[in-house]
């Protein structure tokens, strides 16, 4: 699928939702908070993935040169709620990564570390409060800045200004929680030949809120996460990028007063890459958030 068709598909899907909707996949803190006027929150979230599985299309192939990839990203995420319907979000990553790539026929270890590309989003939400439930539709245009350096052998930034938009819907009762987010990123051509393909993503979180204590404002959620990504054919400093993948995994979210703790794991259940690439790998996330 070429980029143009991908863009049309994404916009058609967004229009298909038909209502103002929100967020992108990993919203700061949580989808529902802070929903109060003047509320703000911070979250530190660590995301780790590693793989030494070499794929060609969707098939595993021999990896005699030991190609592998390890990416550790620590996100500092912030959110400010002007009014119930309007929030601004910011995400700044610190990246530590390494890979073994094949350059001129030889395996070479490449590393990169530092501030990555920051993301600013404007969440527009429409809440529907009912007797025993609350729901919201959201629409979030986002901008990714080229704050990350492209000078390392394994660059932490891509040097391009990228724009994205996502549409979401969430619904919650005291016991059930569901969140759907459809996102699209248009990746512009960056520096050093980095030119990633556009991305379409779908995130679904469905789960339960099995325990809460009204007296101590304490509780937890257990959810299942389904993530699907389609990334158009692109290039970075080590070769071809892009492909499609689906991952599944559990999410735990605990809270106590204004503190929130989140763990999730994404196990890849399907992956197909363009050309030959190291697989995405299992992704581990841990976050600690606070709202005021």
């Amino acid at each position: 699928m070429d980029r143009l068709r991908l863009r049309w598909l994404a916009f058609a899907l967004l229009l298909g939702v038909g209502v103002p909707a929100t967020g992108w996949a990993h919203q700061p803190v949580m989808d529902m908070a802070p929903r109060w006027d003047g509320g703000w929150g911070l979250q530190v979230r660590n995301e780790f993935r590693s793989s030494n599985k070499l794929l060609s299309g969707d098939s595993k192939r021999a990896n005699p040169q030991g190609r592998k990839r390890r990416v550790n990203t620590t996100w500092l995420e912030g959110v400010y709620t002007f009014v119930r319907a309007v929030r601004v979000t910011a995400k700044i990553p610190w990246v530590e990564q390494s890979r073994v790539s094949v350059v001129s026929g030889s395996a070479v270890k490449q590393t990169g570390s530092g501030l990555g590309d920051a993301i600013l989003g404007l969440q527009l939400k429409h809440y529907i409060n009912r007797e025993a439930s609350t729901a919201n539709f959201g629409l979030t245009p986002s901008l990714r800045f080229p704050t990350g350096s492209t000078s390392d052998a394994y660059p932490v930034g891509d040097g391009s200004w990228d724009v994205g938009v996502s549409a979401s819907f969430s619904h919650e009762t005291t016991f059930l929680y569901q969140f759907y987010d459809l996102s699209y990123w248009h990746n512009s051509k960056g520096k050093r030949g980095i030119d990633r393909g556009d991305e379409v993503g779908l995130d679904v979180n469905v789960g339960v809120h099995p325990y809460h204590d009204n007296r101590h404002n304490l509780g937890f959620f257990l959810m299942a996460d389904l993530s699907a990504r389609y990334e158009g054919h692109g290039e970075d400093t080590a070769g071809t990028t892009g492909g499609k993948r689906v991952s599944l995994g559990p999410i735990f979210v605990g809270y106590w007063n204004n503190l929130m703790l989140r763990f999730d794991v994404k196990f890849p259940v399907y992956q197909r890459v363009w050309g030959s690439q190291v697989a995405h790998g299992t992704e581990f996330n841990a976050g600690l958030g606070v709202v005021f």
Binding site: D37, E131, V208
Partner: protein, 185 residues
């Protein structure tokens, strides 16, 4: 199969929870607000924070004078004895917290008085004035000295000037004399 059963049980439990409607009981020196959409304590933190610095609250109760119950979607405010209830301010603070106040519940006691077309009840402890618009049970007559639990649609106070009498519906007569002169409570 096991997963399907767990999901089905969860859905059933949720529906049962949705179907339950517990009667509202207002204790002495309290007011209760039924709030739409308040189903998660973490998300309701803002409402608790916004309400907890109201001057009329008794902070010794519930730790800060505010108790959020997501099971019933009700907020209970513990009041200092003799304080007037700032309904409009409470309404605004809950609304700015992302929720929609639905109904206020309160206790009042005093003598019912007929002023023109209106039946008025002035709370003897706080001096707060209420206009009695309706009765859920036996109507009461002017002159009766009563202690009642009442309620009113929260939307009413969104534009009501502070201090203006809210129109209440008397839900339960806790003690006092009815129109027929019989004692209750």
């Amino acid at each position: 199969m096991k997963t399907t059963m767990v999901v089905a049980a969860a859905l059933l439990a949720s529906q049962v929870a949705l179907g339950e409607e517990l009667p509202v009981v207002v204790e002495e020196n309290q007011t209760v607000v039924q709030v739409n959409g308040m189903v998660c304590s973490f998300c309701a933190y803002g409402a608790e924070k916004a309400l907890s610095d109201l001057d009329c609250l008794d902070a010794a109760d519930f730790g800060n004078g505010v108790f959020v119950d997501i099971d019933t979607q009700r907020i209970t405010l513990a009041l200092r004895p003799g304080e007037k209830i700032p309904f409009r301010e409470i309404y605004k603070r809950i609304e700015k917290s992302g929720y929609d106040p639905l109904t206020f519940y309160l206790r009042a006691e005093g003598r019912l008085e007929r002023v023109g077309e209106k039946l008025l009840l002035t709370d003897s402890k706080s001096g707060q004035l209420f206009s009695v618009a309706a009765f859920d049970s036996v109507p009461l007559a002017a002159g009766a000295v009563v202690r009642v639990q009442a309620h009113f649609d929260a939307e009413q106070v969104s534009e009501l000037p502070e201090g203006e009498a809210v129109e209440i519906t008397i839900g339960r007569v806790l003690s006092g004399s009815s129109m027929t002169g019989q004692k209750s409570g």
